[in-house]
Amino acid sequence: MNQPVKMVVVLMMIALVAGALLAFTYQATYPKIQQQAKEALESSVLKVIPGAEKMEEVQKDGMTFYIGMDNQGNKKGIAFKAVGSGFSGPIEIMVGYNPKEGKLTGIEILSMSETPGLGAKIKEPSFTEQFKGKSVKDEFAPKKDVKVITGATISPTAVAKAIKSTLEEVTKIYPVGGEF
């Protein structure tokens, strides 16, 4: 085989085998990857809606909501994602909301890259607990009705701001005192 042809053939053969191997591995791992993503989402929704044992995803007015229900089908609350601009990058939050009572049922920090030991403390229950039972009509002002972290105000402020601004949209779709 002359040189240029050999080059092309070998390169193509390797590329084809590589492509096939990758497609195969992808097919093999796809179900597990999907399952992991689903489990992670479900666990965060169930965490922010106490009493919920399963969830259902709904789209309403361009926003995605996760309705948390117990095993009898009683709705316990709805969850939605909020994103804030933190100290070192975006902060993703899962927020639980009970429209009937007009209160938050809890929050969970899904992802963040804040400073360990300082801003990263927003992940800890000592910070997130304060949002359980908080009225959605509150100001969400740091140091006033939102407790901050000593030495790190930007991260908690980002969380408060994100929740507040997303709530403004959410309460238009699920107003306080209304059904869900």
Partner: protein, 205 residues
């Protein structure tokens, strides 16, 4: 014999991290906890070993002019396999490693050994060398991770070591800490082996 020498070489004399000082990006980025170090070390060893074996087997078939693209395809394929498997079975670790799993494909160690060694020797020697280099990298970054985890988090493999009153030396978990720990450990290695590193970085890989 030769195979044993090839293997041990990567573990100590030509340790990629502390002696050759290559493949540093991941050694700084993921070494915030001991378990991350081990996971990354194993991932790299897998990619390095599989790639070296394949490249050594194919060394007489791959024409010299297209060898770099061929090596790249081989390494990238194994890297993607590791990426997919970790995403499926170790999602928590995968989150921590971030882009550094895909970056294994441009890890200086992998391509450098393929070009300099695997493509020139038989499969057995290529395997021994790859395993040595991979495990050498693995133990080195595990040590770095342990230092950073102990000082920065007060734990080792998530087991708390000190009591409540331990103030975490947080900077050890941040970039400056990574650089400092690396510098000190390289210096320590020089002291122990009484030689300066063989290579001043990756400028010829």
């Amino acid at each position: 014999m030769q195979l044993i020498k090839d293997f041990v070489n990567g573990l100590w004399n030509e340790n990629p991290i502390f002696r050759m000082v290559i493949g540093i990006c991941s050694a700084l980025a993921v070494t915030t906890a001991a378990k991350n170090g081990i996971a990354m070390g194993l991932a790299l060893t897998f990619v390095l070993t599989c790639s070296s074996i394949l490249i050594s087997l194919l060394k007489n078939i791959i024409p010299s002019k297209v060898r770099i693209p061929c090596y790249i395809i081989v390494v990238a394929t194994f890297t993607t396999i590791v990426d997919l498997v970790m995403k499926a079975y170790f999602p928590a670790l995968y989150q921590v490693m971030g882009i550094f799993i895909p970056l294994i494909v441009v890890n200086c160690i992998v391509l450098a050994r393929a070009e300099a060694f695997a493509s020139k020797v038989n499969v057995l020697r290529a395997t021994a060398d790859a395993l040595g280099m991979g495990l050498g990298y693995a133990w080195a970054i595990t040590v770095i991770s342990m230092v950073r985890e102990i000082l920065g988090n007060g734990t080792i493999f998530d087991v708390p070591l000190f009591g409540q009153n331990f103030t975490q030396w947080v900077i050890m978990l941040l970039p400056p800490g990574a650089f400092f720990v690396m510098g000190i450990l390289v210096g320590l290695m020089n002291l122990i082996t009484r030689k300066s590193p063989k290579n001043d970085g990756c400028h010829n890989c």
